[in-house]
């Protein structure tokens, strides 16, 4: 099996707030991420597809096709958007890296026509990332 990884970057704003928490509790739990005016990140998304290369093309999945899927499913939805207000899939959820990566996994998985979605790695900054991996993955794709 071969793994291929495509990287894209998007910029978005967000803030963390749980309406069931008090003002003080929100500040305590979420710290400066609770600022109601929001703040932003340059997110880096690495998407890994695992599969056997098609003998006719030598490709697991044509990267042009993967690029188009990422543009349509992720970039058009999230790039230069406010994640709390403008992404319906995140409505009612706190837009943490965990929840954004999960939504991206759910958006991409049914769209992958060759191979299987193996890993979604979402960097919020160089010092923080979340991995979503297939339950059956050995995790080897993590080194990307």
């Amino acid at each position: 099996m071969i793994r291929i990884t495509r990287k894209v970057e998007f910029s978005a704003s967000h803030f963390y707030n749980n309406p069931n928490f008090s003002l003080e509790e929100n500040r305590r739990v979420f710290g400066k991420c609770n600022n109601p005016h929001g703040h932003g990140h340059n997110y880096t998304l690495e998407v890994t597809i695992a599969g056997e290369p098609d003998p006719a093309t030598g490709m697991v999945l044509d990267l042009k096709e993967l690029k188009a899927i990422l543009q349509r499913e992720v970039m058009d939805r999230m790039d230069h958007r406010h994640l709390n207000y403008e992404v319906p899939e995140l409505a009612g959820k706190i837009p943490t890296c965990e929840n954004i990566a999960t939504v991206i996994w759910q958006l991409l998985e049914p769209k992958i026509t060759r191979g299987k979605l193996d890993r979604v790695r979402l960097y919020e900054s160089p010092s923080l990332f979340v991995d979503c991996t297939a339950a059956s993955s050995d995790g080897a794709g993590r080194r990307a």
Binding site: I94, T102, S127, L128, D131, A135
Partner: protein, 138 residues
């Protein structure tokens, strides 16, 4: 689908690779310039990976407000700007190769209360990295 969260930290420390049970010549042959008796240092990069359910009230596997002070207290306070051989108890008797540093940091972090420690990965330089997973730690 499985989720994990990885947080990156840095620390700077000195060490010397020297096994007291080996002769001077053997230490020189095995460890080369890392055996220099005065030691040398690195900027280490430490990636800490935790897993667990996402708390629906916070959207988080682990709050960095909990993880950062835990790693600071358990590891960075003891390792950053220190001589690992002289100042970290474990390395009085164990050679502070990055393999052994990985294992020791995993041991120090494994009781993080808010999520399960999954992996510790260390870059000793931008060319060398070492990692230990929960399945490797015994």
């Amino acid at each position: 689908m499985k989720l994990s969260l990885t947080r990156r930290y840095d620390f700077a420390a000195s060490h010397r690779l020297h096994a007291p049970q080996l002769s001077e010549q053997e230490n020189q042959r095995i460890y080369g310039k890392c055996n220099n008796p005065y030691g040398h240092g690195h900027n280490y990069t430490l990636d800490v990976t935790v897993t667990g359910p996402v708390d629906p009230s916070t959207g988080m596997i682990a709050n960095l407000g909990d993880l950062d002070p835990f790693v600071e207290r358990e590891v960075l306070a003891a390792f950053d700007h220190k001589n690992l051989n002289e100042e970290v108890a474990e390395f009085k008797a164990v050679v502070p190769t990055t393999e052994n540093v990985c294992r020791e940091i995993f041991r120090l972090l494994q009781n993080f209360p808010a999520a399960r420690l999954e992996r510790v990965r260390i870059e000793e330089t931008s060319k060398n990295s070492f990692e230990i997973g929960v399945e490797d730690f015994a």
